[in-house]
């Protein structure tokens, strides 16, 4: 069930994975980063973020790299990169389909 849920990422999940694709990060930095990147359009609460980190970890999309006190730094795994890229391809396909529909 959980695997199926990650086949298509939610917008928040996509941005979290994007953050890790860009660079290794700790959970506490992600929320700020996504907010800056999307100019406040995408905002995620701490509870949501923590749940996403937990499910990404259990599905092997990210892994622990470092721990300093309460802060844990994660890095994206090969599987995470693959899912991230396939999600981009899916989104691009969506946009292409939408543009085709407009032309028709």
């Amino acid at each position: 069930m959980a695997k199926k849920a990650l086949d298509t990422l939610t917008e928040t999940m996509f941005y979290v994975l994007m953050s890790f694709y860009r660079e290794d990060m700790c959970g506490t930095e992600i929320s700020d980063y996504v907010k800056r990147l999307t100019k406040g359009r995408v905002s995620m609460g701490p509870g949501t973020l923590y749940t996403i980190l937990g499910s990404f970890q259990s599905e092997g999309l990210i892994e622990k790299k470092d721990a300093e006190g309460r802060k844990i730094t994660y890095r994206i795994t090969d599987k995470g990169v693959k899912i991230y890229k396939s999600e981009i391809a899916r989104l691009q396909q969506c946009i292409a389909d939408a543009e085709m529909t407009e032309v028709v």
């Binding site: 959970g27 506490t28 905002s43 701490p46 509870g47 949501t48 923590y50």
Partner: protein, 410 residues
């Protein structure tokens, strides 16, 4: 001025929306939560502030440092976690809200499943209790049960069951409605009006606590009282309080036998291995809310042939005498009405013998009854005003011949 405020914890694990409103309201009055427990909460006095609290349902009960750090990075400080609820606070009343729908759904579902799992056990337990209580009341009668176990125990047990049922049914209702609501519209509700719910919960919780304590205390009292009232052989032999008709008067031969044989009375085997004897003698005093005096004298003695495979009874005698002084005549009257269902040495087949069927003529008493069962079994019940004598006897003597003599002692 008090520095600490200790109150009952009015909200259950399903009332987290109310809990956070309560904590926020208390902070606005200058009371800041210091400890939140299942029954008791402690607040510390401070300056009234706009601090807001958020109680977060979570999917699991363990909370990790990283989670706390992520919340703190968003401006929410961690206070404490209770089971799967985490309590955070923020000094900024306009702080950005957060909401994790997945954790919310999981929490509600887990709670509902947990409650539903208990339903078969609860139904079974209630059924067993009803059957047990029903058979007790119809078989033995209310007054006889109270005489043995105490009215406080039964009252507190019954009231406690009612409170527990109310709490359980309400929890099922809350969990179901919450789960359905979350499925319908996923959003959390802040600033709830909590006072009525807090009052209701406090009444139920207080009722539960009081009845549980009353049950425990009355059980201890019943046990303690029973032990204290139980006078074993050596002391019982010298018992001389005003029990109108003791074994020593009814059957001096058997009384002398106990007295003589007392050192080996409990159980013994003859030196040649042929006989096995087993005896019991005690006096039990159990005054209570119904009876200012309630004394039972019990004697049982058997001799069996130990040389055969199934011990063959060679001699058997039982004498069971109870004397009561009721606190009112009504109690005495009602008590003997229930007595035929409760008589300790009766077989089931005798339980249908009514007081009317047993009644025999006897001067100067309100009631006298005699019953002869199969074999050597006999019994009498005599009531005069508030006084009652019951004797059940299994032996060779004629108990009926003693009725007038026994009645005269009242």
């Amino acid at each position: 001025m008090k520095d600490r405020l200790i109150t009952l914890s009015p909200f259950s694990y399903l009332d987290y929306e109310y809990l956070e409103s309560w904590l926020t309201d208390m902070a606005s009055q200058g009371w800041f939560i210091e400890h939140y427990g299942f029954f008791r909460s402690v607040f510390k006095r401070g300056e009234p502030s706009n601090r807001i609290y958020r109680v977060v349902p979570r999917a699991t009960s363990s909370i990790k440092d990283e989670e706390i750090a992520i919340f703190e990075a968003s401006g929410w400080k961690f206070f404490d976690s209770i089971r799967s609820l985490a309590i955070y606070y923020n000094e900024d009343p306009n702080a950005e809200e957060f909401f994790d729908p997945e954790a919310f759904k999981k929490y509600s579902r887990n709670y509902l499943v947990l409650l539903l799992i208990w339903i078969p056990f609860c139904v079974y337990w209630i059924y067993k209790f009803a059957v047990y209580a029903g058979s007790f009341l119809t078989g033995f009668g209310t007054l006889n049960i109270i005489n043995d176990n105490g009215i406080i125990f039964y009252l507190s047990l019954s009231v406690g069951i009612i409170f527990a049922l109310v709490a359980y049914i309400r929890a099922i209702y809350l969990a179901t409605s919450q789960y359905l609501r979350i499925k319908r519209e996923i959003k959390v509700r802040h600033n709830k009006q909590y006072r009525k719910r807090a009052l209701f919960n406090n009444i139920v919780n207080t009722g539960l606590i009081i009845t549980v304590v009353a049950c425990i205390l009355s059980s201890i009292f019943v046990t303690f009282n029973d032990e204290r009232g139980h006078i074993q052989l050596d002391e019982a032999l010298n018992y001389s309080e005003s029990q109108p008709y003791l074994l020593r008067e009814f059957s001096p031969e058997e009384w002398n036998y106990i007295d003589v044989e007392s050192p080996s009375f409990d159980s013994s085997q003859g030196s040649d291995g042929r006989y096995y004897s087993n005896g019991e003698y005690y006096i039990r005093k159990n005054p209570n809310i119904l009876f200012s005096k309630s004394v039972t004298e019990r004697y049982e003695y058997s001799v069996e042939d130990a040389t055969v495979d199934e011990y063959k009874s060679l001699y058997y005698v039982q004498y069971n005498s109870s004397y009561y002084e009721a606190r009112s005549e009504w109690i005495a009257e009602k008590f003997i009405e229930e007595l035929p269902g409760y008589l300790p040495i009766r077989d089931a087949e005798y339980k249908n013998v009514s007081l009317d069927e047993m009644q025999v003529p006897c001067d100067n008493v309100d009631y006298a009854g005699y019953n002869k069962g199969e074999g050597d079994y006999q019994e009498i019940i005599i009531r005069k005003g508030k006084q009652i004598i019951y004797i059940g006897y299994n032996g060779k003597k004629d108990l009926k011949a003693e009725i007038n003599k026994i009645a005269a002692t009242l």
